[in-house]
Amino acid sequence: MALLQIAEPGQTPQPHQRRLAVGIDLGTTNSLVAAVRSGRSEPLPDADGNVILPSAVRYLDAGIEVGLAARIAAPSDPLNTILSVKRLMGRGLADVKQLGEQLPYRFVGGESHMPFITTVQGAKSPVEVSADILKVLRQRAEETLGGELVGAVITVPAYFDDAQRQATKDAARLAGLNVLRLLNEPTAAAVAYGLDQNAEGVVAIFDLGGGTFDISILRLTAGVFEVLATGGDTALGGDDFDHAVAGWIIEQAGLSADLDPATQRLLLQTACAAKQALTDSDTVTVRHGAWQGELSRATFETMIEPMIARSLKACRRAVRDSGVELDEVGAVVMVGGSTRVPRVREAVGTLFGRAPLTSIDPDQVVAIGAAIQADTLAGNRREGGELLLLDVIPLSLGLETMGGLMEKVIPRNTTIPVARAQEFTTYKDGQSAMMIHVLQGERELISDCRSLARFELRGIPAMVAGAAKIRVTFQVDADGLLSVAARELGSGVESSIQVKPSYGLTDGEIARMLKDSFEHASTDKTARQLREHQVDAERLLEAVQGALDADGERLLSTDERDAIAFQMQELRDLLTGTDGPAIEQQTRRLSQVTDAFAARRLDSTVKAALAGRNLNEIEE
């Protein structure tokens, strides 16, 4: 029977109406899934008790490895093992080349601008790789919670632009997940600490993960959660600490800087282990091949100082954007594995003038908060769960005007959902169409901003230049996704676009991915059937052997016994192979030749039971 969980008073769901929802932290280094059970939000462990799933995917000739196995295999199979794929989400090929030399993969361009990574299983987009991670988490959640999920809240860095958010949504869709909401990671962390239940105040969330850094300034007023400002750096994190330490090893050991991918990976793993050891000890012995050296915490701190300085600068900027003073910040929440580095905690504490909050595991806090939000959005209300989150737009949205300039329509840090309209006009007599080029960014020249989409408004009636009134409306939904509409007010002609970011997937690419997943579904199904046939066969063999041992001598002739033994041996031979249908057929044959034996055993048992009793006793 279905297993029950404890509900809040008066909140027991109707039978078959439990709405299972999870929070997923799709991280650069590690990913987690969490859910609210018996009133508590907790991360869900896998069968081995591990909560964390390393965000690593390895493509093999047959099959996929996700998680620890893939991460371990990374040094030996660097080209087919994708790590830190989050850094590539929503990026174009050109962006990736800039990130460049640190990544050992072979990139190819796709149908869209998206970079594809060449693996033994063909070209994989970052969206597909992320979907493979999400699939594992979804399966874990469904097994743990005992049912299908109605949806998930997936967290993204606050600094993710539209293209990156869209890519994350595409990945979820590909993994068969219904996205209830994309939630900014810092906002999720604040929810996990229950800060939404607290008194009023300003809170800073300092999130230094494996590959991304976010700082968010939140204000709590009467249970309403408003993100005042966000800032950060999509390319700063613990991975950079690892690269710094790896650089130090290369220098100290006198290695040539031109290393093959496998050695690079191995070096990074050594570096990461050294970094972690320095959280608790003052010095660590580092070995690479024959070389060995001592790394002190002080040396390590000097190496990472520039990165810490970068993060603090972003903190000051976010505080300034939010219009509060540093000393108004009432609490600082630490998120992300890299906040375990003592120097990071110290520097943040000094900047804000108070000790940061660290009581919830910094690796789990985001997923825990996302699960609480998912539970609320799925309709399983918590007591007093009036959770209302207001988020902001991380980068300004606007469009291109004459001369290649960016005209901002919605400035950054505007709370969402939001709709803003602005009027534009024609610049030539008789102009009948207008190109709307949607952009995101803070810079004035469009070449410095990110192009999100282009569309055309046609059918403008002939007028002198400047007479047409074209109202362009920008609308951003609760997930931070944008739609833009343009309307000529005189004639009423209009045109609109649901922004499909330039770096998103084309329909052709999505179709191919879906086709791939169907093809995999059929191999998965065959594998499962084989396993079922094997289990059936083994069960029958065991039963027949047991019956032979008990009654074979007594009830069967030598010929009959030999016939059964022959069929059993045939089945055993087949079991060493993988021919499912043949195993099934032979199982049926063995079952047939033992039918008579089974009937005789039944008769003999009945006779034994009846022996020595008279009719009256039996009738009772």
Partner: protein
């Protein structure tokens, strides 16, 4: 009239109550609904009503309203793990039939 629970169930309830930070105990009950007529209720309790019966087992309070008690008398509450899935199970001797998934039942 008695209700009991296994030690595993008691431990899990205690942990859940601690995590929640408040609550008197756990409410067991039935209500009319579902595909087979009745369904179980399993909730935290903040307020014990006057007519409620309270049973204590392994140091955890089980609270039941008198109407539900008729259907639950003799029940043992268990906490089980089935693979990755875990949760509570009612071992109720009064049950005569249940729907496929066991979420609703009749007596």
């Amino acid at each position: 009239m008695a209700i009991s629970m296994t030690e595993a169930a008691a431990n899990h309830i205690r942990r859940s109550l601690d995590g929640r930070g408040k609550g008197e105990g756990i409410r067991l009950g039935v209500r009319t609904t579902g595909c087979s007529g009745l369904a179980y209720v399993l909730e935290f309790v903040d307020d014990v009503a006057g007519e409620d019966k309270v049973f204590e087992n392994h140091g955890v309070k089980i609270i039941i309203d008198p109407k539900s008690l008729v259907y639950l008398d003799g029940t043992e509450l268990d906490f089980v793990k089935e693979g990755l899935n875990e949760g509570f199970k009612f071992n109720n001797p009064n049950v005569r039939g249940e729907c496929g998934c066991g979420e609703s039942f009749n007596v």
